[in-house]
């Protein structure tokens, strides 16, 4: 039996968060011992180390663990000295470890509809079978996805832990900002009650400081990537969301993005030109997380390179400690998933122009109405620029509906359009 099969059997037959923590510790050690030269960038090694270390911390100190939804204000969690982890990203990590088919099959036994988003189904099952330590509480927002409330309620109930929920309004007006500001204040009070601590203003200020540093570095990274020569594969930058989904507001998140920024700057100054792809692609929405070669195929065999990802857009302004709750509320409200599709389309337009995009690929995740519901309008927006648009229908987590040859034909056809 292969090591991977043994790990799988251990996870499903005797789920034990302590064993998982030891496993993560082993991977962490192995990564630490791997020479940095084996990674495309030195920052990429740092990325893995930070991610594994964060995951280990999450398992090692369950009294500090908090489950969060992807766009939740994690700065607030860090201000309490707690350890947030996005459940959507955990589902993605499970998919990358080839665990999703078994997890999803488990949810089917529990009457969860197969039409429901596989990210949600996977993390509900992860929580149900006891792969995770029981957290202090569960924090979710109503955006980007209307399923989040239901799924996080389910996780909260399964683990008998309180759900702190922020009801993100649809429209971004003054009333909406005030409504969300009030909720954030209440959320902080709820956390104080649950943790029996008091929010330390200095710690909140520090979380804002690190969040702003990370934001600033990410902005610079995006700007450097406008460079005529591609400096980074999209395959390496798409996973950034695992960091900003959990470590925005933490020293490690800020330091990591700054390291990426510095290395990319150096590459730019030195005229580094090892990425051969000539056609510049904007990638919209997420990517399949299970083992596959889609991105590698585009970037290393077809001669295109992903120079910008929608998911790594910096859409919010700096956080302001003088009005912390309103500042966090505004950050949430500025998200391009909140409200109508216009914000998303404007962001796409800006990126096409700033990054000199030759073609756009949208990955329509099965069951994600937020992403695939707007494909027609996105296509119309992209074609305004006279550049090709490819919509890939698929599932980011469930590899059972994945047929690689079908995708490769679509990608090659897209490439032929780019080269026409």
């Amino acid at each position: 039996m292969s090591l991977q099969s043994r790990v799988k059997r251990m996870l499903f037959d005797e789920p034990d968060p302590k064993k998982i923590m030891r496993g993560i510790g082993f991977i962490l050690l192995k990564t630490a011992l791997t020479p940095a030269g084996k990674f495309d960038l030195r920052a990429a090694k740092r990325f893995s180390l930070i991610l594994y270390n964060h995951a280990r911390r999450f398992f090692k100190y369950p009294q500090k663990a908090v489950f969060t939804s992807l766009f939740a204000p994690v700065e607030l969690v860090h201000a309490f000295g707690l350890c947030p982890f996005s459940l959507e990203m955990l589902a993605g990590i499970a998919a990358s470890m080839d665990l999703a088919p078994e997890l999803l099959a488990g949810t089917e036994k529990e009457w969860l509809s197969t039409d429901f988003c596989s990210f949600h189904r996977a993390y509900i099952e992860i929580a149900r079978i006891g792969l995770l330590p029981a957290p202090v509480f569960v924090l979710a927002t109503a955006h980007t996805c209307d399923g989040t409330y239901k799924s996080f309620s389910e996780v909260s109930s399964l683990m008998s832990r309180p759900l702190i929920f922020l009801d993100t309004p649809y429209h971004s007006d003054r009333v909406a900002v005030d409504y969300l500001t009030e909720q954030l204040k209440n959320a902080a009070e709820q956390i104080e009650k649950v943790t029996k601590t008091t929010l330390d203003r200095e710690k909140l200020e520090r979380a804002f400081f690190f969040s702003n540093r990370a934001r600033s570095a990410l902005l610079e990274i995006n700007e450097i990537r406008q460079n005529e020569r591609p400096l980074l594969f999209g395959e390496d930058s798409l996973p950034f969301l695992t960091i900003w989904g959990s470590l925005l507001g933490h020293r490690e998140g800020a330091a990591l993005f700054e390291r990426y920024r510095d290395e990319l700057k150096r590459r730019s100054e030195e005229g580094w030109s090892q990425i051969k792809g000539k056609k510049r692609v904007l990638w919209l929405h997420l990517k399949p997380f299970f083992p596959n070669r889609l991105l590698r195929y585009i970037e290393q065999e077809l001669g295109a390179v992903i120079v910008a990802e929608e998911i790594n857009s910096v859409y919010w302004d700096e956080l302001d400690i003088r009005s912390p709750w309103e500042s966090l509320a505004l950050k949430i409200m500025r998200n391009y998933w909140v409200g109508g599709i216009e914000k998303r389309l404007d962001n796409i337009r800006r990126t096409i122009e700033s990054h000199h995009i030759d073609g756009v690929i949208h990955f329509s995740h099965w069951g994600c109405r937020q992403s695939n519901g707007g494909v027609r309008l996105i296509r119309d927006t992209v074609t305004e620029y006279g550049i090709p648009f490819l919509n890939l229908d698929g599932d980011c987590v469930d590899e059972r509906s994945y047929s690689e040859a079908q995708y490769l034909t679509r990608l090659e056809g897209f490439m032929e359009l780019l080269e026409r």
């Binding site: 090709p388 229908d393 079908q406 034909t409 679509r410 056809g413 032929e416 359009l417 026409r420």
Partner: protein, 281 residues
Amino acid sequence: MVCCERQRSEKTPTPRETGASMIFAGIDIGSVSTEMVILENTVPVCSIIMETGSNSREAADRMLAAACEKTGFSLSDFHFIVTTGYGRKTAGFSHRDVTELSCHARGAWHLNNSVRTVIDIGGQDSKVIKVGKSGKSLDFIMNDKCAAGTGRFLEVMARALEVEIEEMGKIATAAKESVKISSMCTVFAESEVVSLIAEGHPRDRIIRGLMDSIASRVVGMVHRVGLEPPLMLTGGVAKNEGVVRALEQRLGTSIQVPEEPQIVGALGAALIASEETAGKK
């Protein structure tokens, strides 16, 4: 099926020997059938259609052997070979592989320069391609990752109805009415057909209903790319006049069907092969 103007003869010198002409080939290795078109300069001289079977690499080898047998050529006589289709990367002797999207666009455009939209319904997928004035693909849509609206769908239904697949088109055309088939899924549609037979619905009306079902899938794709006549239907399913008629009715425009729609992808591949060499001259 073989259609060869250039027959093998012991005395006929090969093109390499005479140096008089250049030979190009396009091979479309699909999930159900494999087609090959051979050009002498830019003129088609031979086309062959055979079943792919379970191994696309072997299918490509068998096809090449059959072509050499029929024409008297050897592999070295071919100046350039382009493969396309599902198994395009498996042929060891290919000089280049190109997607069936570009090949169908190129092949259809060669047959009629005015064609602006190509609908290709193959064994396991269907696609709609917008064709530019120079014969290049401008945009495309492929079906979802299931067999609805493909040749495989028809195969399964023909088996359930116990009719020959080749007869289905004529039967559908003769039917006065159609029975609605609700299921998109091939497996569910098969059981729906079995139920309809058991309920006593005439076979011809069920078959016409199946043609309508395929057409409704494909018409949605045509509109997504943008309906721009003239349209050409290619691929094996184009031989089914029931599907052609159902598509024409739904689209409100006539559809051109080439004399041998199944070889259009291979023809396009052969033409791209000839252009490849011309570009290098």
